[in-house]
């Protein structure tokens, strides 16, 4: 184990601080939702906050900030493919160039 018994006490304080930060960010994200921003902005804000919270959990609770290369790079790879899975089908659905205009999706308007 890379963390010794005495270092751990400092880490305990850190864990509690991270926990509190997460709770604060939760309150923030819920409060902002009541503002009822337009959807693209609401999505951006929600994702930014969620990614921040997720990064805190991953970096400190899961100790990723000090983790070894094999794990770190496996996860970088995973995130890259996760993003491909998220965005490529979406971009495909939104790309109407070269298709018949009669099949243009109404959601592009309805989503606003």
């Amino acid at each position: 184990m890379s963390v010794l018994g005495e270092d751990i006490k400092k880490h305990v304080g850190l864990y509690v601080k991270v926990g509190v930060t997460l709770l604060v960010l939760t309150v923030v994200t819920v409060t902002v939702s009541y503002v009822r921003l337009v959807l693209p902005l609401a999505v951006a804000v929600a994702l930014i906050i969620a990614i921040s919270k997720g990064s805190l959990v991953a970096s400190f609770f899961m100790h990723l900030i000090a983790e070894k290369r094999a794990i770190y790079w496996s996860l970088v790879l995973t995130v890259a493919f996760f993003l491909a899975l998220m965005f490529l089908p979406l971009l495909g659905a939104l790309d109407q160039i070269g298709t018949s205009t009669q099949t243009a999706r109404p959601a592009a308007e309805a989503a606003h």
Binding site: A70, S74, L77, T78, A80, F81, A84, L85, L88, P89, L91, G92, A93, D95, Q96, I97, G98, T99, S100, T103
Partner: protein, 593 residues
């Protein structure tokens, strides 16, 4: 070092753990036993899938004619009077693909060869997680049982293609539900196996075995494991969603207002059939690299060994392998060019698809170049390995027009596609797998398979298999659609190329006859094959240091690697091969029994 395994310790261990027959041969946690279980089970499924195809090929050659020999045993629902119904043809088609890919080739290439060879090649006593390894085999077995059982439920097996596109698959008979359940078992098996392979390769390499000293076979299995690990889960998710559409009436993949057999469906609609395609192909494209990468690995080992030369361009091959694995995740929509996607996305996927052909060409070229200047031994494994090269070349080249949207408009869903992918997997991977079986059989059993039978098996199979698949390009270019139960008979544009169906079917049945030679050779040689030494091929990699067959724990002395994996014909060395585990190259090698 935690894992010094002396002969004494091994002896002690064997006596300490007196396992029952069931623990030794059925619920074993030994990677070699599990590997053999995977291999034999997979070969049985391969034979079953092959049989399904042989029945299909009767119908394609002689549409509507009663099937000889077995026609009356197929059941009234499938083939009344021995004449195949289109519904049954569709079952055969869907299950042939499913069984060959998920229950045949991958379990043999990865579960069989990977499990048996990988720990030995890295000098490890077993896999990192032996019990999970055992569970992965039984998950595979159960998945296979569910798949086969699906033939016997009302409505028969899945019949919507191995691709199970919505909405057809969602409205299909019970067999499709069993297909989905079976897939969940099979996917679970692969995920458990992938975790094991990656952890084992990273953690259990013997001292001195750095990554760039690994045999190419190990690299191939490592990249394959990453593909399985990261590409399968979205299909598992999709499988759950399709199960819900079928059983719970949800509409993840069901569009609004769908009318089936004259009746409007009662589900909510609002779903997307394209969503299924995205999720399916996100797995299924990396899956085809899962099908080919182990074959690259096997062929590389055998070529190095039988040319008595190091592989040309090892580092470039490794880099290409890794790059190929990465790219395989971002090409999938080339299976969806005719779904109405816009030109921007189409261009993106065409570009990535063209780029991904580069590493494949590099690997193939490196293997060809490796032959140059070699002292080639035409052993049975080498014959199969050599044949793999041009066969994979044809498969790969024929993929290029499919990866570009304009020609794909003409070729999509025709026999050209079937010809392309079969060339890569059947004359390609399958020949490589045969090569691997002949090559590693002595390590697993201490005996060689019969050479004469092996060579007859090779030549007969090589010509017959080309006879089955080459004419498919002709039919495809003429526009004959795939998945037609009458082989195109009903279409005017197919008439001129229909006669090829008979030729292809006879080729398939002749191919079957040559496999009988292999099956006989395989089982006969287990007991009566010529006994050989631990390293009959005079190979350099670590598995040949172990006894044949290796005991529980694999090595009777501590293993350490001192050099690269392909030190053949090194100038100044005592012999024309210097094992990885030999400290000094100039010392004569110890005599082996």
């Amino acid at each position: 070092m935690d894992h010094v395994t002396t002969a004494e310790h091994a002896h002690h261990v064997v006596h300490e753990h007196e396992l029952s027959w069931i623990q030794t041969y059925v619920f074993s946690t030994d990677h070699k036993v599990i590997g053999i279980q995977y291999a034999i089970t997979a070969m049985v499924f391969l034979l079953f899938g092959f049989t399904l195809m042989m029945i299909m090929r009767w119908q394609l050659a002689f549409p509507g004619q009663p099937i000889p020999l077995i026609g009356n045993f197929l059941g009234e629902a499938n083939a009344p009077g021995g004449q195949m119904l289109p519904e049954f043809y569709n079952q055969l088609g869907a299950m042939h693909g499913t069984i060959m890919v998920f229950m045949g080739v991958v379990p043999l290439a990865v579960g069989g060869f990977g499990n048996f060879v990988l720990p030995l090649q890295i000098g490890a006593p077993d896999m990192a997680f032996p019990r999970i390894n055992m569970m992965s085999y039984w998950a595979f077995f159960l998945g296979g049982v569910v798949m086969i059982a699906s033939f016997f439920v009302p409505g028969g097996a899945a019949n919507s293609g191995w691709t199970s596109y919505a909405p057809l698959a969602v409205t299909a008979t019970t067999g499709q539900t069993m297909w989905l359940v079976g897939m969940i078992f099979l996917i679970t098996s692969s995920l458990l196996g992938a975790i094991n392979f990656i952890t084992t390769t990273i953690q259990l390499r013997a001292p001195g075995l750095s990554f760039m000293r690994l045999p190419f076979f190990v690299w191939a299995q490592l990249v394959t494991a990453f593909l399985l690990l990261l590409a399968f889960p979205p299909l598992e998710a999709a499988g759950v969603l399709q199960l819900m559409d079928r059983l719970a009436g949800t509409s993840f993949f069901m569009p609004s207002g769908l009318v089936v057999s004259g009746r409007v469906l009662e589900n909510s609609g609002g779903g997307s059939p394209l969503l299924w395609q995205h999720l399916f192909w996100f797995l299924a494209h990396p899956e085809v690299y899962v099908l080919i990468l182990p074959a690259f690995g096997i062929v590389t080992e055998i070529i190095a060994n039988n040319t008595r030369k190091p592989i040309w361009g090892y580092r470039v091959m490794v880099a290409s392998l890794v790059f190929l694995g990465f790219m395989s995740f971002i090409v999938w929509a080339h299976h969806m060019f005719i779904t109405g996607m816009g030109t921007t996305m189409s261009s993106f996927f065409q570009t990535t698809t063209m780029i991904i052909s580069i590493p494949s060409v590099i690997i193939l070229s490196a293997l060809f170049i490796s032959l140059y200047g070699g002292s080639i031994r035409f052993t049975t494994p080498m014959l199969f390995a050599l044949a793999f090269l041009p066969m994979f070349g044809i498969g790969g080249l024929t993929g290029l027009p499919l990866g570009l949207a304009p020609p794909d408009i003409h070729l999509h869903d025709t026999y050209y596609v079937i010809g392309h992918f079969h060339y890569v997997v059947a004359p390609g991977t399958l020949l490589a797998l045969f090569a691997g079986i002949y090559h590693w059989f002595p390590k697993a059993t201490g005996r060689k398979m019969n050479d004469l039978l092996g060579k007859i098996h090779f030549w007969g199979s090589f010509f017959a298999i080309n006879g089955v698949f080459m004419p498919m390009f002709i039919q495809g270019l003429a526009g004959v659609n795939r998945r037609l139960y009458d082989g195109g008979q009903g279409y005017a544009h197919a008439q001129e190329v229909l006669h090829w169906n008979v030729f292809m079917s006879y080729s398939a049945w002749i191919l079957a006859i040559f496999q009988i030679l292999f099956i006989v050779n395989f089982f006969w040689s287990i007991k009566r094959g010529q006994k050989v030494s631990d390293n009959p091929w005079h190979a350099t990699t670590l598995e040949w240091d172990a006894p044949s067959p290796p005991p529980h724990g694999n090595f009777t002395r501590p293993v350490e690697a001192y050099r690269g994996p392909y030190e053949y014909s090194v100038p100044g060395d005592a012999t024309d091969f210097t094992p990885q585990s030999l400290p000094s190259a100039t010392r004569p090698q110890p005599q082996r029994a």
